[in-house]
């Protein structure tokens, strides 16, 4: 049988991967490597398309792709050279579209991979990135900052940072409390779920109190509670993009350890993994990832819960495939959700968290009906 190239494999897509399985005695490692390359290639291709669509379409209308790409490159070149003389399209693409698009990619990828890490380590399919109470803590302090009119002394001129800084502080406080309670009660997965749930409830109830206190200026914080990329600028896009993409890729190094965890903690420990330390490090890394994601764009649900499941249903249980696939699918879902959020009711913007669920639910429901019978979480 002639050896097939990667592109013909890509053309055949999933069917191609299935026909590989029918060959007797094929190397499973080689098969997985092939699937991995396919995910990277397919992911890069689709992300590039989604990226181009994202920078070309806006609430103001459609810029032809060729013009958008030209403006993108020329604006980047000018920015690198320090030339501030940008034309209208360049200004629009460089200052409005590009940071928002990069933030969408980072947050989609970050939430999806954080969900993947939490589900693997807690071994519970209902777990999402907000399981450790990060979102409730962040929401509570964001609401408190708005209701009580906080200002940050060294950032007094930039009110844009008050909610994100409060959100990060709240997320960290909630996580520290959850971790203290969970570790104090034995540190098992169920301890983490219960501790995260009660801490989440506590912060949510305090948030409700602040909500009633500050009902006159709620609009300042509502965008954050429902998630929006509307306030993303170059200043904060980097703060989200660089660490989130960096951590997401770095976390994939542990893919085999997450596979080991699927056998349970005792088996993982017996095979040589320091399970307690690994779990703590994962919890901290995934919570940092989640806090960074929610700080500037607010609470966006669905992606972190469902994207890892969808990838598992399509690709099996190996985290070496699920994690890169989650990054790609999470980023693409978020790009399209943001595109829909800012265009369908233009000039008004819809909450992006609602759109991710609207796009994702029918797709996931279809997958569940098709493959749910043979799916073990």
């Amino acid at each position: 049988m002639p050896k097939e190239g990667l592109f013909s494999q890509l053309k055949k897509g999933y069917r191609g991967m299935k026909s590989d399985l029918e060959e007797p005695d094929v190397s499973e490692i080689e098969l997985k490597k092939k699937r991995f390359r396919l995910i990277v290639l397919f992911g890069s291709f689709m992300s590039a398309i989604a990226f181009l669509i994202s920078i070309s379409i806006s609430s103001g209308g459609v810029i032809p792709v060729s013009e958008a790409v030209g403006a993108l490159f020329s604006s980047i070149r000018k920015a690198v050279e320090g030339d501030t003389n940008l034309d209208m399209v360049e200004l629009y693409i460089y200052n409005a579209r590009l940071p928002r698009t990069l933030a969408s990619i980072a947050v989609g990828a970050g939430l999806a991979i954080a969900g993947c890490m939490y589900q693997a380590i807690i071994r519970n399919p209902l777990v999402d990135p907000y399981i450790t109470g990060v979102s409730s803590g962040a929401g509570c302090l964001a609401m408190a900052a708005t209701a009580l009119g906080f200002s940050i002394p060294f950032l007094a001129d930039n009110t844009l940072y008050v909610i994100p800084v409060a959100a990060i502080a709240g997320g960290v406080v909630a996580f520290v409390v959850t971790m203290t309670v969970a570790e104090g009660s034995g540190g098992s997965s169920i301890n983490y779920i219960l501790a995260g749930t009660i801490v989440g409830f506590a912060f949510s109830s305090v948030q409700t109190v602040f909500m009633s206190l500050g009902k006159d200026n709620l609009t300042d914080v509502m965008w954050w509670l429902y998630g929006s990329f509307g306030n993303v600028t170059w200043e904060n896009a980097w703060i989200v993009f660089v660490p989130v993409v960096g951590i997401s890729i770095a976390a994939m190094v542990w893919a085999r350890e997450y596979n080991l965890y699927s056998m349970g903690e005792d088996q993982a420990a017996q095979l040589g993994l320091k399970v307690k330390r690994f779990k703590r490090v994962t919890m901290v890394v995934a919570s940092v990832l989640t806090s960074l994601c929610v700080a500037f764009v607010g609470i966006i649900g669905f992606v972190g819960l469902v994207v890892p499941h969808a990838c598992r249903m399509a690709l099996g249980s190996d985290h070496r495939l699920i994690m890169p696939a989650s990054v790609v699918i999470g980023a693409m879902l978020m790009l399209f959700a943001d595109l829909v959020a800012r265009t369908v009711m233009s000039p008004a913007e819809l909450p992006v968290g609602a759109i991710t669920a609207m796009i994702g639910t029918p797709v996931f429901a279809y997958m569940l009906m098709k493959r749910g019978r043979n799916y073990d979480g």
Partner: protein
């Protein structure tokens, strides 16, 4: 007579959980190529002892040597090359396939970050063929029958190439046929120079297949030796607080038939 160190040497092993003494100074010593049966009532310390030997639990005091090496001073991944552990049930396995599960047994041997070597894959496939599950390699563990799952777990431990394999209640969910099949696999491994220790409640099954039996009660070893010599009605009454008929069948195999629990023991 060779100078090989014993495969397992346990001296004064104690394990305490929140004031409860699960193991109270266990001493054991076994050479290679033995199938050892660990017998005792629920909570007598069988699983705890196996978890201490495989370093899942840290012992409170005492020493454990496997193949002449003190496992408490070794890294967990190094211990995993000497001792393999087969749990009673696979539990929730998150859609993992039989092949992927067996390959996880190679984890201690893989130096690379992501992908295993072809050599690891060859070992995993070989093990699956040995235990008759090669045709199931792409099936999810969760969708396999109890017998298939148990064989997959044994294959996973087998690819660790251990000197000592610890098997916890391997037949508790299996019907008669699979019980015998699993015991025969374990016996075959013991015959190939791997020492296998099995904790099990079916005393007749243990007596029939094991070379040596260890009887435990409340964290202590009460008898060690040839099952035909040590398993008596008196011992069963003492350890389990149950009256039982112990006899030999027509083939000379020992059988234990529980009759009734001793009044006042519950």
């Amino acid at each position: 007579m060779t100078d090989d160190p014993p495969v397992l040497r346990v001296r004064g092993l104690c394990k305490e959980f929140d004031g409860f003494q699960a193991l109270k100074g266990v001493d054991l010593e076994f050479g290679k190529g033995l199938l050892i049966g660990l017998i005792g009532p629920n909570g007598c310390g069988k699983s705890t002892m196996m978890k201490c030997i495989s370093r899942v639990h840290e012992q409170t005091s005492g020493t454990i040597e496997v193949d002449g090496k003190d496992v408490s001073s070794m890294k967990a991944a190094e211990v995993a090359k000497l001792v393999a552990n087969v749990p009673a049930e696979a539990g929730q396995t998150f859609g993992i396939s039989v092949m992927d599960m067996v390959m996880l047994g190679r984890y201690p041997f893989v130096d690379r970050i992501w992908w295993e070597d072809p050599e690891d894959e060859r070992a995993a496939k070989e093990a699956m063929k040995t235990f008759g599950i090669y045709h199931l390699r792409r099936k999810q563990v969760a969708l396999c029958s109890s017998g298939e799952r148990q064989r997959a777990l044994i294959a996973k431990a087998y690819v660790q190439e251990p000197k000592l394999m610890l098997v916890d209640e391997p037949t508790s969910h299996l019907d008669m046929k699979y019980k015998l099949q699993v015991m025969e696999y374990l016996q075959k491994m013991a015959r190939s120079d791997m020492t296998v220790m099995v904790a099990e409640h079916d005393i007749s099954l243990m007596a029939r297949y094991c070379d040596v039996c260890v009887i435990m009660k409340r964290g202590e070893v009460v008898a060690v030796g040839d099952p035909k010599e040590i398993i008596t009605e008196k011992l069963i009454r003492e350890v389990y607080e149950v009256e039982a008929r112990v006899g030999l069948d027509a083939d000379g195999e020992i059988y234990v038939l529980p009759k009734r629990y001793v009044e006042g023991s519950l």
